[in-house]
C-alpha cells in the first residue's frame, strides 16, 4: 500500500505552515496591489481565504451530525456541517479548490441548526456563505447557481419574470399609492409572482396603517448572497435602498423570511425592518379578528426564527385567531423546510426529502400547517400530501372576513 505517502501529519508543523501561508498570502497581496492595472488583473488570483478564526472555532466534535438535516438525508460526512468546515479548512491550508467541493458546500440550506447546537460557538452558515463567495470569485459554481445569478441580474427577480412586479395590485390602486410614507411593504419575488394573493392580502391589511409600496422593487438579493454572489447582490441592494430613500420610509415590513433577514442583516445602514408577524402582533388591538374554530400548527422559518429570534410574534397572532398545536420540533429546534440556501434550486431531490421530514413533525388533528415565509410554503406544499400549508396572512385574512 501507499506507505511511502506519509499520512500522519504533524499538527505543529501544520499550524506553522498555515501561519506561513497566511503571511505569504498577505505579501502576495501587497505585491499584487502595487502592480499596474493590467498586470494586477493577470496576477490577482488571490488564494481562497475566509475568516480563519471562525473556521478554527470548529473542534470537529461532530455534534452537528445529530442535527444537520442535509447530512441525515445524504449520509456522507461531506454533507454534514463538520465536513463542510473541514473542506473549507483544507482550502485554507492550500488544497486546490475544485468543483468537487460543490456537493458539500452548495448543499447547505444555511438553516443554522448546527450553529444553535454548536458547543464551541461556531457559526457555520456564515462560514459557508463566505466560502461560497470565495468559490464564486475563483470561478467554481454549480449550474444552478449560475442560472440563479443570471436570472436575477437580468430580470430583477428570482423567477425571470418580465411581468410588472405590482401586477397583483387592482387597477387604479397604483395611482393612489402614497408617494411618501414612513412605512413601506417589501413584497419580495415569491409573493409578487408566485403567491400574488399573499401580497394582495398583506397589502390590504397594511394599507390601513398608511403603508406604501416601492415604485420599482427588485429582488432583495437574498438568493445572491446565500449562494456567494456578493458584488451582484450589492448592486441590487443599492437599487432597493435608493427606492426606499425615495419613498422616505424609515421602516420596511416584509412577509418573506428570506427578505426579512437580508434587509435586516445584510443591507448597509440602519434600516428598521419588521416581519409581517411582528407587525401584526404589535397591532393586534387594531385588527378586529373574528375567532375561528380551527386548530393549526406553526412551522418556524429558519431565517425568521433561528437567525433572528422571531418566535413569539407569529404564535401570538395565531393564538389571537384560533388554537395552536405545536409541531414536534419548534423554535430553536425547528427543522428546516429544505428550501433555503439555494438548495431548492440546486438540489431539488434533497430539498424535497427535507420537506417530507419536516411534514412528519406535523401533529395529528390540525386543519392547517401555518408558516410565515413563502419559500417555506412552496417547499412544504410539495411534500405535504393532504396537509394544507398556508401562510400566516391567509389565516389573518380568514379572520378578517
Amino acid at each position: 500500500m501507499k506507505n511511502e505517502k506519509t499520512k500522519l501529519e504533524n499538527e505543529a508543523a501544520g499550524a506553522k505552515k498555515q501561519a506561513e501561508m497566511k503571511a505569504k498570502a498577505e505579501t502576495e497581496y501587497e505585491k499584487t496591489a502595487a502592480k499596474t492595472e493590467t498586470e494586477k488583473e493577470k496576477l490577482e488570483i488571490k488564494p481562497f481565504e475566509v475568516d480563519r478564526r471562525s473556521v478554527y472555532k470548529c473542534v470537529q466534535c461532530g455534534t452537528c451530525r445529530s442535527v444537520c438535516p442535509v447530512f441525515e438525508t445524504v449520509g456522507w460526512e461531506s454533507a454534514n456541517t463538520r465536513g463542510r468546515m473541514l473542506i473549507i479548512k483544507s482550502l485554507l491550508e492550500g488544497r486546490e479548490p475544485s468543483e468537487d467541493v460543490l456537493p458539500s458546500l452548495a448543499t447547505c440550506t444555511t438553516c443554522g441548526i448546527c450553529a444553535a447546537k454548536c458547543p464551541a460557538g461556531a457559526n457555520p452558515p456564515e462560514v459557508v456563505e463566505e466560502a461560497r463567495s470565495e468559490l464564486v470569485r475563483l470561478g467554481i459554481t454549480t449550474e444552478g447557481q449560475e442560472k440563479l445569478r443570471s436570472t436575477i441580474t437580468i430580470s430583477g427577480n428570482s423567477f425571470g419574470e418580465s411581468r410588472d412586479r405590482l401586477h397583483w395590485l387592482p387597477d387604479g390602486e397604483r395611482s393612489k399609492l402614497p408617494e411618501k410614507s414612513d412605512y413601506v411593504y417589501f413584497v419580495g419575488c415569491f409573493d409578487s409572482y408566485r403567491y400574488p394573493e399573499f401580497a394582495k392580502k398583506t397589502f390590504e391589511v397594511l394599507q390601513h396603517f398608511g403603508v406604501t409600496l416601492l415604485p420599482d422593487e427588485h429582488c432583495c438579493a437574498s438568493p445572491l448572497l446565500r449562494t456567494g454572489f456578493k458584488p451582484d447582490a450589492e448592486k441590487i441592494m443599492g437599487h432597493n435602498l435608493e427606492q426606499i430613500r425615495k419613498v422616505g420610509a424609515h421602516t420596511v415590513i416584509t412577509g418573506c423570511a428570506g427578505c426579512y433577514t437580508t434587509l435586516k442583516n445584510n443591507y448597509p445602514g440602519n434600516l428598521r425592518v419588521i416581519s409581517l408577524p411582528e407587525f401584526l402582533a404589535e397591532h393586534l388591538g387594531d385588527l378586529k379578528f373574528k375567532r375561528l374554530d380551527l386548530t393549526v400548527t406553526y412551522h418556524d422559518p429558519c431565517h425568521l426564527g433561528r437567525h433572528n429570534g422571531v418566535y413569539d410574534a407569529p404564535r401570538e397572532v395565531i393564538k389571537a385567531i384560533c388554537e395552536l398545536k405545536e409541531m414536534k420540533n419548534i423554535r430553536e429546534n425547528s427543522r428546516c423546510c429544505g428550501g433555503g440556501g439555494g438548495v431548492r434550486i440546486g438540489y431539488p431531490d434533497i430539498s424535497l426529502k427535507l420537506a417530507k421530514k419536516r411534514i412528519e413533525d406535523v401533529p395529528e388533528g390540525v386543519d392547517y400547517l401555518v408558516t410565515s415565509c413563502p419559500l417555506c410554503v412552496r417547499n412544504l406544499r410539495d411534500a405535504a400530501g393532504d396537509i394544507e400549508v398556508i401562510d400566516i396572512i391567509e389565516l389573518v385574512a380568514m379572520a378578517l372576513e
Partner: protein, 456 residues
C-alpha cells in the same frame, strides 16, 4: 478489475473517491490525520465481509468508522486504504424485553437507542458526552463509558454477543443471549476495546437495564480540588454509590456559566456533581446522605430542585469540553492528554500534578471528569494559529500521560488509544503488550485491520 471497480460492484453509489469526501474522512475529533484512498458506506454484514475479503486479498488497510467522534484518531486511516463508514448500518434489529436485551447494528446512535427504549422503561446505561451522535459500534470498539459508569459500568459490561467480520472476511459470533458461559475464551471481551484491529463488529447483542424511577442531583462546591477528592472517597466509604460523580474545576465552572448563565451552579470553587438514583425514597435518602457527608468539607451544598434544573446541568456538562471558546474566542480546545485515569486514591495528586504541568507550559487548563472512577478530562486550550502554543501543548500532554502511568493509572480511561497514545502502550503494559502483539498477529496476519493503532 481495479479496486475502485470491485468496491463499486459491492456497494454501488455508496463508494466515494472524491478528493473532498476523502478529506472529510481524514480526521475525527482528535488531531490525528490520514487520508483514505476509498470511503465506502456498507449497509449489511455481507457487504462488509466482501469488502474486507477484497482488502485481505489485496492487502489494503481497512479502518472502521462510526460517527467519527473519537478523540484518539481511532477511526483515522493513518495508513490510507479503505474507510468503512458504518453509520448507515443503523437498524435496531430486536428489542427482547424478556431477556433484557437488544440487538443492534453498529451504526445505531446511543441516544436513538435510548429514545427507543424509554417507552418500555429501559435504557442502555453507558453514556459518553457524545451520546447525541456517537454510534454503538464505536462505543464497543473503544469500550466507551461516561458519567454513569461509576455505578453502571462501561460498555464492556453490557455486551452479550457480537457478530464480527474477521480479517479474511469470515463472519463469526462471539457469544449468545446466555447470561454466562464456561466454554472457551471470551472473544466478546477480546473484541471490546480492540479498536477495529481484530475484526469489524457488524451486529451487537446488548444487555439493557430498567430506568431508575428517580434521580437526585447534589451540587457541592469546595475550597480546592483536594478537598473535593476527599469528599468523594468518604461518600464511597459510606456505602453510597452515586450514579454519577463529576468534578468541574473552577475554570470549567466559569465556562459552563458562560455557556448558559441560567444554570443553577455555585458561584465559585471546585464543584462536584453527585447524582444518585433509585426509587423516590432510596434516591432521596442517598442524596441526604451525600449532603451530610459533604457538609464538613464543602463551601456550599445544594440539591437541584427540579427535573429541568438537573437536565440543564447535565446537558451543559456534556458539552463543556468544546465550549471553551466561549470564554476566549481566540482559544480552541485541543483534545490531547484528555483522558488519563488513576486509582481513586491518587486523584488529588493527579489534579495537583496536572495543574503544575499546565503552569509549567503556560497553558490555560480546564479540569473536569468522572472523579468517581478516577478518570480526569484535562482540557488544554490554545490559539491554533500560534505554532509555539502547539509545541507547548504537545509537550504538556506527553507529561500528563507519563504522570498517569507513574501514578499506576492509564493513558486512556474511555476514549481509547488510537494513533494518539500508541507510544505509551509499552510503558503502561510492559511484557503484557507482547501478548497483545501476538493476539493481533494471530487474528490479522496481514496487518490490514486499522493499522497504526494501539501502538501495534
Amino acid at each position: 478489475m481495479d479496486i475502485t471497480e470491485e468496491l463499486r460492484e459491492i456497494v454501488g453509489e455508496r463508494l466515494s473517491v472524491s478528493s473532498s469526501e476523502l478529506y472529510c474522512y481524514s480526521s475525527d475529533a482528535s488531531q490525528v490525520k490520514g487520508l483514505p484512498d476509498y470511503v465506502v458506506r456498507p449497509e449489511s454484514t455481507e457487504e462488509v465481509s466482501r469488502i474486507v475479503k477484497l482488502a485481505f486479498e489485496h492487502e489494503i488497510p481497512v479502518t472502521a468508522r462510526g460517527a467519527g467522534t473519537g478523540l484518539a484518531g481511532g477511526a483515522v486511516p493513518v495508513k490510507g486504504g479503505i474507510v468503512l463508514d458504518l453509520s448507515g448500518m443503523n437498524r435496531l434489529l430486536e428489542i427482547d424485553l424478556d431477556n433484557l436485551q437488544v440487538v443492534v447494528e453498529p451504526g445505531v446512535i446511543q441516544d436513538a437507542l435510548n429514545d427507543a427504549l424509554k417507552p418500555y422503561g429501559f435504557f442502555f446505561p453507558p453514556n459518553p458526552g457524545s451520546s447525541a451522535m456517537c454510534t454503538i459500534g464505536g462505543m464497543i470498539a473503544y469500550n466507551a463509558s461516561g458519567m454513569r459508569c461509576v455505578k453502571y459500568g462501561t460498555t464492556r459490561n453490557y455486551v452479550r454477543d457480537l457478530e464480527v467480520v474477521l480479517a479474511d472476511g469470515t463472519v463469526i459470533h462471539t457469544g449468545s443471549k446466555m447470561l454466562k458461559s464456561a466454554a472457551g475464551y471470551d472473544l466478546t471481551q477480546l473484541m471490546i476495546g480492540s479498536e477495529g484491529t481484530l475484526g469489524i463488529v457488524t451486529k451487537a447483542g446488548l444487555k439493557i437495564a430498567p430506568l431508575p424511577k428517580a434521580r437526585k442531583l447534589v451540587i457541592a462546591a469546595f475550597e480546592n480540588a483536594e478537598l473535593a477528592g476527599k469528599a468523594v472517597i468518604k461518600i464511597f466509604s459510606n456505602g453510597v454509590v452515586p450514579s454519577a460523580c463529576e468534578i468541574l474545576d473552577r475554570v470549567s465552572l466559569q465556562v459552563l456559566k458562560r455557556y448558559d448563565p441560567n444554570l443553577v451552579l455555585p458561584a465559585e470553587g471546585d464543584v462536584i456533581l453527585f447524582e444518585v438514583d433509585g426509587t423516590e425514597t432510596s434516591a432521596r435518602e442517598a442524596a441526604e446522605q451525600v449532603m451530610e457527608v459533604c457538609s464538613p468539607l464543602a463551601l456550599t451544598i445544594k440539591l437541584a430542585e427540579s427535573e429541568k434544573e438537573m437536565a440543564d446541568i447535565w446537558a451543559a456538562r456534556k458539552l463543556v469540553g468544546a465550549a471553551v471558546s466561549r470564554l476566549d474566542p481566540t482559544k480552541t480546545r485541543i483534545y490531547v492528554g484528555e483522558d488519563v485515569g488513576v486509582p481513586m486514591k491518587q486523584i488529588p495528586k493527579l489534579l495537583r500534578r496536572v495543574q503544575e504541568i499546565a503552569e509549567e507550559f503556560d497553558l490555560p487548563a480546564m479540569k473536569y471528569g468522572h472523579i468517581g472512577d478516577g478518570n480526569l478530562h484535562l482540557a488544554l486550550f490554545i490559539d491554533v494559529l500560534n505554532p509555539d502554543e502547539w509545541d507547548r501543548l504537545n509537550k504538556a500532554a506527553d507529561k500528563v500521560h507519563r504522570t498517569a502511568i507513574e501514578l499506576g493509572g492509564t493513558v486512556s480511561s474511555e476514549h481509547g488509544v488510537g494513533a494518539a497514545r500508541g507510544k505509551y502502550m509499552e510503558a503502561q503494559w510492559g511484557p503484557a503488550f507482547e501478548v497483545m502483539r501476538t493476539i493481533k498477529k494471530a487474528l490479522d496476519p496481514k496487518g490490514i485491520l486499522n493499522p497504526g493503532k494501539l501502538g501495534l
